[in-house]
Structures are given as structure tokens and as C-alpha cells.
Amino acid sequence: MNLKDISTSVPKKDHKGKVSGQLAYISDLKVENMVFGVLYRSPIAYGKIKSIQVPDLPLGYEVVGAEDIPGPNYVKIIKEDQPIFANEWVNYIGEPILMLVGKDLDILYGLLEKVKIEWEEYQAIFTLEEAIKQKAAPGVTMANYEFGESLEIISAIEQGAHQIIEEEYDTGYQEHVYLEPQGMLAIYKDDEIVVQGSMQCLYYIKNALITALDCGDDDVRVVQSPTGGGFGGKEEFPSMMACHVAVAAKAVKKSVMLVFDRSEDMVVTTKRHPAKLKYRTALDKEGNILSMCVEVYLDGGANVGLSSVVLQRALLNSAGVYKIPHFHAKGYVLKTHTVPNGAFRGFGAPQSFAGIESHIGHLSKRANIDPLEYKRKYLVKQGDPTITKGNFRDPILMEEMIEDLLNTTDYKKKKVEFQTFNHHNQRYKKGIGTSLFLHGCGFTGSGERDHIKATVKLFKSKDDLVSLKISNSDMGQGIYTTLSKIVAKELDLPYEKVSYPYPDTKEVPDSGPTVASRTTMIVGKLLERAAKKLKAQWQNGVEQEVTENYVHREMIPWNELTFTGDAYPAYSWGVNFVEVEVDTLTGNVKLENVYANYEVGKVIDDRVMKGQIDGGLAQGLAYGYLEKMTSKEGRIQQKSITDYGPPTSMDVVSIQSKVFDNPYADGPYGAKGAGELTLIGGAPAVQAAIEDALQTPFQQIPITPEVIIESLWLREGEEG
């Protein structure tokens, strides 16, 4: 492949099948002898099952439950706390209890309504507030960490401080709304079960199946179907569905399809953790920061799932992009009897960045300094320590990126213009806000070395066609294109001669899950190395295969117990400027201009990167002011897309973005992670812009019209 610059865009590998709709997603498949499954779910939040009564079933309809599971009754993730089918205790509304299978979905739904269960109900914990009050009670704290400066030293600093500022900040649920609802099919064969579906992590699913089915490595096989969006929502959740269909297929000896409709998907699947963040900061007379203590509380929902890892990332980002003197942080994942929360693009970082950017913005007001100027005083520089005593060892281009946007937006002039506009306008107010952020690429700490141990293979056929053998999922982010391109360029082969078939665990080694902004950087690097190796041994007309294994670059070793060391091998960076107009009569926020600068090492494909920027930022902005999901007594209140309100084409505006080159030695062609970074800055920038327009601080996201109107009323009351 003859590209001068790897970043030059090429056509997407999977374009044709997608634009014509002829690429088959899981719900488009029909296999022989296939039945559907539907799940009977707990209608109560917390209780003990006393008896289960299933109605008489017509011929060809069967019930599958906990007693049909060959292995232990849990979905293997990290802890063993998530049953496949609850058979004793239920811990949230919507928890699966049994499955009915049969040919006709309408008949199945009718039968579901006739299932009767007797309960002993217990007092549930429904809110994060309540869980915080009860955090010392048994089982409520599911994970916790604490690190940083000693509290004695901080207490001494606080005693000498001019002022101590305390703030509490709340973030809400966020729902993925991948356009393709979750779906999974188990194909029954005499000697193996093939599980196929919409997924990000083939080997997570395979490992969960081996445990649940108590079977050997060769007895199950996992195949990815084209995946209609993931955003983290298809990271760990599909493992449970895979267990459901595989257990059912084994029990009824038929192929079993489980596809959620939108309302089921919205109510029972994992979401971004609601969080409460508490800040306690000591200031001197000029408003300079002397010390800071942060507490992070995540609502884990009914079981821990991946929440402990999400909390780690939330804590690792709790100081934002700032070098804060005498920093201390602690955090908790707390149990509530609500739908379990899990992975979502950003993985704990969006909550932390929303909180810290808000807090720092509010501190700047006290110091009477423009928020951006105040933030820049504390911006980390190359060589600075991280909050875990790691090191920012690579060059940091944040100052350049900020300067560039100050010029592009004419920031200072715009500030004055907006002030004048706001002075002359009673109803509409304009504001500009900024956010500064980073994203640690790849797994936290030594995860790649100790847990993932990625392996990739390249296979060359006799006709000199090369295929990628990796377990990573293209879920729309474009790795079919970018990873194929890396291999084609390295081998000097035409792009068309490199293929990347939908992964199947029978064919591909475990190159790790498709998560954590690791795929391009980690898997891409392994493929680059494999391609170099293949090139060196290349023999025309001969079948060849090469393998590469992950090699860890030792830095400051990560210690999860003391929370010290290099938490990430590398960081990607971003700056967002957002301009809004707020209607003070309705509380509606209109985006006017959005500017975004990023640094992701080296872009592998400009067009794919722009797709990540536009899509990620749209999700991040909406997280700050548009998308609202709530739970009432354990029941998710938004059951349709419209109730929830993700952005339509009318809500977003064109985004002016730029990506800065800063090649990273351990990434392919210098590339680092990009997928999650683009979401993180949206919410804090939109909040800052709304605050600038209204000259009112907020302590929560999303800042919906209701929140705006209420704060304006409150202010009127205070002023009036």
C-alpha cells in the first residue's frame, strides 16, 4: 500500500454491505431449528423467591432456569456475584429468573404474563444518597480505594489556609442507545455450541461460557456478528445473554435466539454509573490551591460487575489534567437494588472530568481569574508526576492546543461580545466554556501484562492474501479499516489484499477485548510487529503464519493496593471550546459553535478519526445537558428513546476539529487511543458555557431546562 502518510483516508472495508443494508446483523439471521427465548424478569427490587409457578406450556415450548445450568450459576466477569438465572435472591427489578423458549414470540410473551412467583420482599436501597448513608453496612461497599497525600499533612495545610471550599457534584445515568439492540444466538450442534451475536469481547464471552457450561475449550465457540454500535454497552453485558442462550440451547437441544426490543434494552442493560463527587479544597488569600481532597461515589447497581475497574479510572482522573499540590482521593462503589451499571465509553473518566472541571471553574471565580487562565496555571507538563507517583514522560502539547483554539475562536473578543449581547438581551444569553482533559490509553496498570496477554496472528494464503487473526470487534469505530491499513502499509501490499474476517474464537487467538481505547495502540502495534516479521520471512506462493505476543514496557510498576506507579503507558489529550445560547424563558440550550483539538499520537485514518471526534463529542455534549435517565424505586423511568432524548441531527452543529501529531514510540506509526477521549470533554465544556451565559454555577449534569429554570428562580428569589 503506497501511502505517503498513514493518516490519508482510505475507503472503509465494510462500507458496501452497510450502505445497502445487506450485511446481516444478528437479528437478520435465521438458522435451522431455531427457537426464540424470552426472559422472565424480577418485578421486585430485593427479595427472596419462595416459589415459582410456570403455566402449562404448549407443545414445543419449554422453560429454562437455574437448574439447567451445568456449571456454577454466575456470569464470570470479575467477582462471582451475578447469577445467570436468579433462583434464591433477586437484587433488582429486571433481574432474569427464567427463560421461556419456543417458536412464536407472541405466544412466548403471553406465557410470560402467566408466570407466578411468590416472594418475601425486603427493604431495598434505591438511591446513591441512601447507599452513602449505609456504606458501612455489610455488602453495601462493593469496592473502595484511597491514596495520595497523608490526611495529617492536609489537615495542617487546611488549618493555615485562608479559605476552605467544599462542593458536591452529581452526575446522572447515561444510556448507550446503540442503534442495534442487544442480540445473541446459540447455535446447537451435537459436539459444540456456537454463540454468535453483537459483542465487543469474544473471549470474555467464551470464558463465561466455559464456566457456565462446565465444558472444555473446544466445546464452545464465539463468533462476532456485525455489531451495530457498542460504546461499552456490549463489553460485559453480552456475557450474560450468551450464558442464557447457551444454557437454553443445551437444555432444549435447539438453537436459541435472544434479541431485546428497545424498551427491554433500555430498562435492563448496564448504564454509565451515576456518581457523587465531593471536593474539599484549601485556598490561600489570592485563591491559589493549597490542597485538595476528592471523594468519588459510584452507584454500582445490584452487582459489582466491572464497577471496581470503573472506579479506578474515575479516581485516576480525579485531579483532571492538573498538578494539584497535596492531593488526596478516595472512592467507593456502592450497592443499590437497581439495574447494574457498567462500561460506557470513558469508563469513569467522564464523571471525574465533569466534576473536576466544574470545581476548578468555580474556584477560578473566587480567585477572580478567567477559568481558562486559572486552569492553565495548574496544567501538568512533561516530566511532572501523576497523582499516583507515576510520570508524564512524553511531550504534552496542551499549551499549543489551547493557544490554537484561543486564536481560532477569538476567545477574548468573543467574551466581550457575549457580555455586551447578554447586557442588551433579557431572554437569550450567550456563553463560552472550555474543558481540558486526557485519557489514559489501554488497561489500567499492568492489566495488559497480567490479565490480557494479547496474542495476534497474521495468516498468508498460497495466493499471497493476508488475513488478520485477532479477536477484536469492529462495532462501527472503524478498526476493519485502520488495522487492515496498518498491516497493508507495513507489508507494502495493496489494501484489498488484506482482509479481516469477523472474528471466530475457533480461528483467532485472544488479542484482548475491544475496550479501553486499547485496540489501535496495543493490538495495532502487535499487528505492525507481526507484519514486519512476516515481511522478513515472506515467500511468494507459500502459506505462512506469524504470531506476536504482548511485550510490556516496564515503567514505574503499578501497585493496585497502594495505588502508586504508572497507571497508564500513555495519555491522549484534548481541549474543547463550546459556545451556547440559553433561552432563559424555556431553559433550552442551543449549541452555537463547537471547537475541538486533540492529540492522539498519530492518526491512522483521518476520516475514521473525524468520525470518532464528531460522534464522541456529540455523546459527551449530550451527557452534559440533554440525556436524562432516572430510576424511581428501582425502576428505570425512560423506556423509549424519545423519553431519554439522545441528540438528533437538529441538536448538533458542525464541529471544527484539529488533531495534533505527537507520535508515541509504542503505538503503530505512533498512534495512541482515541475512541473514548473524544467523549470526555463535551459535558464539562457545555456546563462551563451555560455557566458563562447565565453567570450561575451548577453542581450537576445533565443541566436540563428544568435545572436551568429552577436555578434562575432560586437566583431571582435570592436577589428579589
Binding site: 483516508s9 475507503p11 472503509k12 465494510d14 462500507h15 458496501k16 454491505g17 452497510k18 450502505v19 445497502s20 443494508g21 445487506q22 450485511l23 446481516a24 446483523y25 437479528s27 437478520d28 448507550h176 442507545v177 446503540y178 442503534l179 442495534e180 439492540p181 456485525p226 455489531t227 451495530g228 454500535g229 457498542g230 460504546f231 426490543d261 428497545r262 462495532m475 462501527g476 469505530q477 472503524g478 476520516r607 475514521v608 473525524k610 468520525g611 464528531d614 460522534g615 464522541g616 463529542l617 456529540a618 455523546q619 423509549s640 428513546i641 424519545t642 439522545p646 441528540p647 438528533t648 441531527s649 437538529m650 448538533v652 458542525s654 464541529i655
Partner: protein, 158 residues
Amino acid sequence: MITFTLNGRKVETDAPPSARLLDVIRDEYLLIGTKEGCGEGECGACSIFVNNLLQNSCLIPIGSIEGAEIVTIEGIMESDQFKILDESYSEAGGVQCGYCIPGMVMASAALLAQNPHPSEAEIREGISGNLCRCTGYNMIVDAINLAAKKGDGLWQKK
């Protein structure tokens, strides 16, 4: 028995009148390009043409389309207009996960047939009934803009 035209071909179905057109298209005629994203008319993934008008097939009971002309993405796939849209979506990078795309392409074709030179605001309005979660819409807006230019003169003739 309900009779209608599907992609130019006269067809008959004995599906119950309350069956959703979406299910009949997918299950009986095995046309998979029409996707189900919400089943409530909110996302547009199941967009089709009913007598040349863009509609959500998940909201249409089969009983209501007697004699109607139904066109799905498969019905336009060979057209010159589709080729232009295909190229433009590729060039602009409008496709990520792809699940919303057949519906989005139908909405694009409907918009351009009605308004061959739409402004950005008109494009945004034209696809506002079609949700996309991957792209943030801008590259889809670009694709439609590009298609309007590339297919100049092509959109008017039906």
C-alpha cells in the same frame, strides 16, 4: 389476503392485518435492509417508501397497505441515485456501525427527491426522524450535501 407492490413486484400476503409491515418485509420476503431499532417510530432505522412517502415500517399494520406501492432499500439499490448516495456516504465517512444507514439512505433519497439542493438546515431537518448514535450526524449531513452536488439533475426525475 392483502395485495401490494413490493419493490416493483405485485405480492400477496396472508399475514394477519395487524402484523407490522416491518416484520412482513423481513420475515416473509427476507429483505434484511430494513432494520428494527426501536419498534415505536422513533429511530427511523426501518424507513421505507409507501407510495413514494418516507414512512417507518414498524408503525404500519399490513392491513392498511392494500394496493400500496412499497419500496425498501433493496428496491433502490440498483438506481443511479443510490450509486451517488453510496459514493457520497463513503467519501464523507457517513457510515460507522451501519445499523441506521439503510434508513438514513432512504431518508436522504426522499429529501433529495423533494429538494435537490437542500441547505444544511434543510438536510438536518430532513433526517431528523432518523437517529444515529455513532457519527454525531455531521458526516451524514456532509454525505447528503455531496450527493446533492454529485447527482445534480438526477434527483428531480423520479
